[in-house]
């Protein structure tokens, strides 16, 4: 299964990947801020660990993005759980979310400004 990877290295040729999650050119998305603020990989990429063939797990429409930007708290998790595929909060999700909002200085209300994603 890893033959293409070995081949890429031995022949010094890029492994060409097929994108499944492509955003339009007028949408600017940064992974780093989402990770820094506590959005888990699984929130947008889905259960990549269970995919036989990778597929787009969520619609990645503006509706999808903005619902989280309007109310980010439910999507937040502690920094050490970012990559966890089936993380479940111990205790009250709402309480954890709102404490992370404060702790991570998330600028709620400003995240829906158009220029956050469109420039």
């Amino acid at each position: 299964m890893l033959a293409p990877v070995r081949e890429s290295l031995s022949q010094d040729r890029s492994l060409v990947w097929q994108r499944v999650a492509r955003l339009p050119d007028y949408v600017y998305f940064r992974h780093d801020v989402h990770i820094a603020k506590g959005v888990g990989c699984v929130s947008c990429h889905g259960r990549i660990d269970e995919m036989a063939l990778t597929y787009k797990a969520v619609p990645l429409t503006m509706q999808f993005c903005i619902s989280c930007h309007r109310n980010p708290a439910p999507a937040l998790r502690p920094a050490n759980e970012i990559t966890h595929m089936n993380w479940r909060p111990r205790g009250d999700l709402a309480a954890l979310g709102s404490s992370l909002l404060v702790q991570n200085h998330i600028r709620v209300g400003e995240l829906t400004d158009c220029s956050v994603c469109h420039r």
Partner: protein, 967 residues
């Protein structure tokens, strides 16, 4: 379509109108003062564009993109976009994160001097150049040429392969040819080998030339730089304008375009702005034949014909007492100017400065060091050093070369990075003489006029692809490192020299490292790497305390005009000597004073226009001796009455798709003996030329657009707050705002070019500009007050005002322009449906509409110049200044990741970054320590069209008017 014209017979009417008005009238152009019904109709259209496009004319921008279509080929036809595939590195380079820019210190070359720069590079692709603030002469500021160099790199017309007699060849072919040439040269001891190059300060190039000369002792060298003047004569002048209380200039545009513009302007600005007249503010006097940027900001300016400037200089020198009493006759006005200037110079002895332009004869220029010596200014406001432009004893001029070519003495002509077949003075007939040369070798960026005549045309690499070195204007050795691998089959100038030296497959990095081995040691050692990281070798500035050699106070000969006219030559403020002609950003840049794009004009005074009966755009024929040239005329307020100014750099035959076939070639009438001044005649020629001037585009309907304060009344009246129906904004930590100090603006256009580069602003071509469709997000409005012969000028940069109560936001039917919590008026391209309502609602006329798909046909290399953080706009959408929202959001992301607020000064807009005088500041209004908040407290602070109640976030500081003591 209707174009704005000024029938010259109306000039009398214009004068009467200007005299008949009470109070100060600000006007932008002669057409505006004349105010004919035709003109009013043209102006009041939303865009002057309402008129129809000529039916049979192919659209200009399509022509500009012709190359692009050819290059683009069939790309984009595949069913699945290539963008759906992702090909990562096999081995990820260290520190390289896709999409995160990296910064490298490097430099561009201008007139032989290194202009230190920091290149922004995305994934190995440079997209922007800015000043290098770490450099001893540096700041983050830059000029239009440095900003536009990035587009020069991606110029699709650049030469990309060696040509032998016009046929593609390989470098191996050339190296083979060189081997046999070298044998021949050696047998002659180098006799018959003639090398011509532009000015240089590169130690590596000088070392290589010395090596060449050692091998071929009889080889001849010529140094030719069409637009560099003889400033300073035997010495290199180092002005320190920050030490000047009084600056007197005679035809010396110290703030104008040139290698020293950024450092001069930035020193100058420390004595303006908040410094009030009568205290620390510099007072400026200027006598000049052609309006210049320096003249525009001078407090007392006087237009003087070029042939009479020596008289003014002599009278001033005489009044200071360095020469005997003069015999020259001055007019009362000139006399008053000389008396006032001399008195001010003397009263501020030791802190004043007289500068005399390098375009005047040397014996006139030498009066300046005499005066500055006598007043004790030398060592304070001006210092001298040995020149460090390479100018060895054995080098001679281009006229000598032409003589040798005509005499058949030239066997081999090697031209390096120069285009003499175009830019040599017309009377030398360089191209004809070149035909008599046996072997013609041309190293250049383009297969230009000279390249076409060469047996071998050899493409050079752009500075951003090369290893090199050079010296900045203070002498500091500045290193040039490549920020991208050459994407064409090109070599650097050092590789070229090494090839001539017989090195096989030379390497430029090795050549540069070899030059600095003694100083910096091991090429991979810490000293070399530190210098490379900083972009310069510290401690290499020149010794500036050399005294000026005793000047010969020879008699000054005044030329008699004999009823003819003074013809003066100037480098073009956008394309310089023609070398930047194929850079669209520069062609579309409205020239600082005339606001003309895509053309050069013949400047005449209103008086001359009246005498010859001329209107703007009329063709005139200029004759110098028996040589003539025809170009369109422009009536220039403030032009000396009998002086005609021609601009170099246009009328190219083989300049490329953009430079080709526009303007007239002023070199045709340039004399060989005096590069800057001639005596000649002017007459009306057939026809007229439609010029694309933006001076009356995007006019605001209102009053008090530009305001002035005086020492006696240093504060403007504060208008009462306007009530509003609309809700208040606020509640966030950040409120973005910009304040532009009109007292600091010199109209240099650096902001406009920087914005164009940063924000992927499209170029649209002359025809579209003429219709008012230029896309630049920031414009520099130029106003005049006073009479047409000698008006006072004002510059006013106008970006989007980001109104708190923005009319455009009320107008948009689809919410494509909305307010952000931080006060940015956002434009959402993907929502815009192009009704243009916002634009008609905008009282500041800062919105730009994509009438056509201006970018869709861009060729792949131009696409590579785009900033990936900014959307490239499509046809049918509105756009405008965003306060560089991508930089704001970038700073937010950085701050958010570190869990902190944005720091004061963390967001710098592109225009602010480029501005050499810090006229533009941007920041958070809610932070009392920010420069913006401080400027808003100034008595000079005002908002544009305040009475409309739009509450702009972009505001202004009024200009000082120095009323001085009347003499």
């Amino acid at each position: 379509m209707k174009t704005a014209r000024t029938p010259s017979l109306q000039l009398e009417k214009i004068r009467q109108k200007l005299h008949g008005t009470r109070g100060r009238t600000f006007w932008a152009g002669l057409e505006e003062v004349a105010d004919e019904p035709d003109f009013r109709e043209w102006l009041t259209a939303e865009f002057p564009a309402a008129a129809e496009v000529p039916q049979n004319g192919r659209r200009e921008f399509l022509r500009l993109m012709a190359a692009s279509f050819a290059l683009a080929g069939l790309a984009g036809c595949s069913e699945r976009s290539r963008a759906d595939l992702a090909a990562p590195f096999v081995e990820q380079p260290e520190y390289l994160v896709p999409g995160v820019p990296r910064y490298y210190a490097t430099a561009t070359m201008f007139g032989g001097y290194a202009q230190p720069a920091i290149a922004t590079s995305y994934d190995g692709r440079p997209t922007k150049l800015d000043g290098n603030a770490q450099h001893p002469i540096g700041s983050s500021a830059s000029d239009v040429f440095t900003q536009a160099a990035i587009l020069g790199l991606y110029d699709p017309d650049r030469s990309n392969i060696p040509l032998r007699d016009g046929v593609p060849a390989t470098w191996a072919d050339f190296q083979q040819a060189i081997a046999s040439f070298r044998d021949h040269w050696k047998s002659q001891g180098g006799k018959g080998v003639h090398v011509l190059m532009g000015h240089t300060t590169s130690a590596t190039l000088i070392r290589q030339w010395t090596q060449f000369l050692a091998e071929f002792p009889q080889a001849a060298l010529y140094l030719f730089e069409p637009a560099s003047d003889a400033r300073g004569g035997p010495m290199h002048l180092h002005h320190d304008l920050s030490q000047c209380d009084v600056l007197v200039g005679i035809e010396d545009d110290v703030l104008g375009p040139g290698p020293q513009q950024v450092s001069n302007a930035s020193a100058w600005s420390s004595r303006r702005g908040e410094e009030r007249p009568g205290a620390e503010r510099m007072r400026m006097y200027m006598a000049e034949s052609t309006p210049s940027l320096t003249g525009s900001v001078a407090d007392r300016r006087i237009p003087v014909d070029a042939s009479r400037l020596p008289d003014i200089a002599a009278a001033l020198a005489s009044a200071i007492g360095v020469t005997g009493p003069g015999t020259v006759q001055l007019s009362a006005k000139e006399q008053a100017w000389v008396v006032a200037a001399a008195r001010d110079l003397q009263q501020h002895a030791g802190r004043s400065l007289l500068t005399i332009g390098g375009q005047l004869p040397l014996e006139i220029q030498e009066l300046a060091p005499l005066v500055n010596q006598k007043l004790g200014n030398a060592g304070a406001t001006v210092r001298y050093s040995e020149p460090f432009i390479f100018m060895p004893q054995h080098a001679s001029t281009i006229a000598t070369l032409v003589g040798a070519m005509k005499a058949g003495e030239v066997d081999t002509l090697i031209v390096i990075d120069s285009n003499p077949a175009y830019s040599a003075p017309g009377e030398l007939a360089f191209a004809d003489a070149m035909g008599r040369v046996n072997k013609r070798i041309h190293f250049g960026y383009h297969a230009d006029e000279t390249g076409r005549l060469a047996n071998w045309h050899l493409p050079l690499a752009h500075m951003l692809e090369s290893w090199s070195d050079g010296r900045a204007v203070d002498g500091t050795v500045t290193l040039v490192q490549p920020v991208i691998e050459p994407f064409y089959n090109v070599i650097s100038v050092h590789q070229a020299l090494d090839m001539l030296l017989g090195v096989v497959d030379p390497d430029a990095a090795t050549a540069v490292r070899l030059t600095w081995k003694d100083r910096l040691g091991d090429p991979l050692g810490p000293r070399w790497l530190d210098a490379l990281d900083a972009g310069f070798i510290s401690g290499t500035a020149v010794e500036m305390d050399t005294p000026f050699p005793a000047a010969n106070t020879g008699t000054i000969v005044t030329q008699s005009l004999n009823n003819q006219l003074d013809i003066v030559f100037r480098p073009d403020p956008s394309v310089w000597d023609g070398r930047f002609g194929n850079i669209g950003w520069l062609q579309e840049l409205p020239k600082p004073l005339t606001k003309i794009t895509w053309d050069n004009v013949v400047l005449v005074s209103p008086a001359l226009a009246e005498r010859v009966v001329l209107a703007n755009g009329d063709n005139v024929e200029i004759a110098v001796g028996n040589r003539t040239v025809i170009g369109p005329v422009w009536i220039m307020p403030g032009q000396a009455s009998n002086t005609v100014t021609l601009f170099l750099g246009y009328g190219r035959k083989n300049g490329g798709h953009i430079a080709g076939d526009i303007g007239y070639n002023a070199y045709a009438v340039r004399p060989a003996s005096n590069a800057w001044h001639a005596v000649g005649t002017l007459r009306r020629a057939k026809g007229e030329h439609r010029l694309a001037s933006t001076q009356l585009h995007h006019r605001m309907d209102g009053f008090d657009l530009v305001r002035e304060v005086t020492a006696a009344r240093p504060a403007l009246a504060k208008p009462p707050a306007q009530p509003s129906f609309y809700p208040e904004w606020g509640g966030t930590d950040v409120a973005w705002a910009m304040v532009i100090d009109l007292d600091l603006c010199i109209g240099c256009n650096a902001c406009v070019t920087a914005c164009t580069a940063e924000n992927n602003v499209a170029i649209v071509g002359r025809e579209q500009v003429a219709m008012g469709r230029e896309m630049q997000w920031i414009r520099v409005d130029r106003y005049y007050t006073g009479d047409v012969e000698d008006p006072q000028s004002y510059f006013q940069p106008v970006p989007c005002m980001h109104c708190e109560k923005a009319p455009c936001e009320m107008g948009c039917p689809v919410n494509a322009t909305v307010h952000s919590d931080e006060g940015v008026n956002q434009q959402v391209y993907n929502r815009c449906i192009g009704t243009r309502t916002c634009s008609s609602y905008c009282p500041y006329k800062v919105r730009r509409f994509n009438w056509y798909d201006y970018t869709g046909g861009d060729d792949p290399s131009t696409i590579a110049a785009h900033n990936p953080d900014v959307t490239v706009r499509a046809r049918g959408v509105m756009e405008k200044c965003t306060y560089c929202i991508q930089r704001i959001q970038g700073a937010h992301a950085t701050a958010d990741k570190e869990n902190r607020a944005i720091k004061n000064g963390e967001v710098v807009t592109a225009c602010q970054q480029a501005c050499p005088t810090k006229a533009i500041v941007f920041g958070n209004l809610n932070n009392a320590d920010s420069e913006v908040a401080k400027r808003r407290q100034s008595g000079r602070h005002y908002a544009l069209l305040e009475e409309l109640g739009t509450r702009p976030r972009t505001t202004y500081l009024a200009q000082w008017k120095d009323e001085g003591e009347e003499s």
